[in-house]
């Protein structure tokens, strides 16, 4: 399984995901946030219409060391040719959706900043498979 994405002019890594909740599906660009140890974070205004199911709670540590309580929700995402369940952090405000390192667990992330090419793949997989998750 191989996922192709993009690297923008600010060197931010992006892929496109379908996020599927109990009440709907939305295709959205998400950036890869290596400072986020979770799986998927999406803004509240996108999460609400998807009807995500509350599944848990956890404590998160922020950049300044502060600890906050957060509710966790369940969704499914398109991940290459698969659908996989994810744990979702719902973020306040007008932020971009992001994926964190837990979602990349078990995968190889290849970022070619020279040629602006991003590939996420399973170890020992060389051949791309459709569909890709490139932007645009």
């Amino acid at each position: 399984m191989t996922i192709e994405g993009d690297i923008d002019s600010n060197n931010t890594l992006w892929v496109k995901l379908d996020v599927i909740g109990e009440a709907g599906k939305k295709t959205m660009p998400v950036f890869i946030d290596t400072g986020f140890s979770g799986e998927l974070a999406i803004p509240l205004q996108i999460a609400v219409p998807l009807g995500l199911k509350l599944s848990g709670a956890a404590t998160s540590r922020l950049a300044d060391g502060a600890e906050i309580r957060q509710m966790l929700f369940s969704a499914k995402i398109s991940w290459g040719t698969q659908k996989r369940p994810v744990t979702v952090h719902v973020m306040p405000g007008d932020v971009n959706a992001s994926i964190g390192c837990a979602l990349l667990h078990g995968y190889v992330l290849h970022a070619d900043f020279e040629n602006k090419q991003l590939i996420i793949k399973e170890p020992h997989v060389d051949e791309p498979t459709k569909p890709n998750n490139k932007m645009g």
Binding site: G35, V48, G51, A63
Partner: protein, 104 residues
């Protein structure tokens, strides 16, 4: 339109978290010896817990047994389950989306 993500409107996240952390502290020594860095979904009511390499693995195992329950997630050996380095408490609280009783 759905009634959105508000599935448990009376859910008090602070009380739930404290009870879950009390349960974790009861079993902390055993877990940190054998399962360091694994994610664990805790249910303080039944005193059960489930492990996973990533958060959704642990939650899915817990949900398989109790589909309608809510679980508290911890990374074994870490003071918090998650790290979010792209946002600070100032910007987070300014945009806070749940009230001081833990309700969205």
């Amino acid at each position: 339109m759905t009634d959105g993500i508000i599935q448990k409107p009376q859910f008090n996240i602070e009380e739930f978290s404290k009870k879950s952390e009390d349960f974790y502290n009861e079993i902390r020594d055993k877990l940190e010896t054998n399962y360091k860095d694994k994610y664990i979904a805790l249910d303080f009511e039944t005193k059960e817990y489930w492990f996973g390499d990533i958060p959704s693995d642990a939650l899915l195992k817990a949900k398989k047994k109790y589909p309608d329950k809510i679980f508290y997630l911890i990374q074994v050996g870490s003071p918090t389950a998650f790290s979010i380095q792209s946002i600070s408490s100032v910007s987070f609280l300014k945009k806070k989306c749940y009230d001081n009783r833990g309700r969205y």
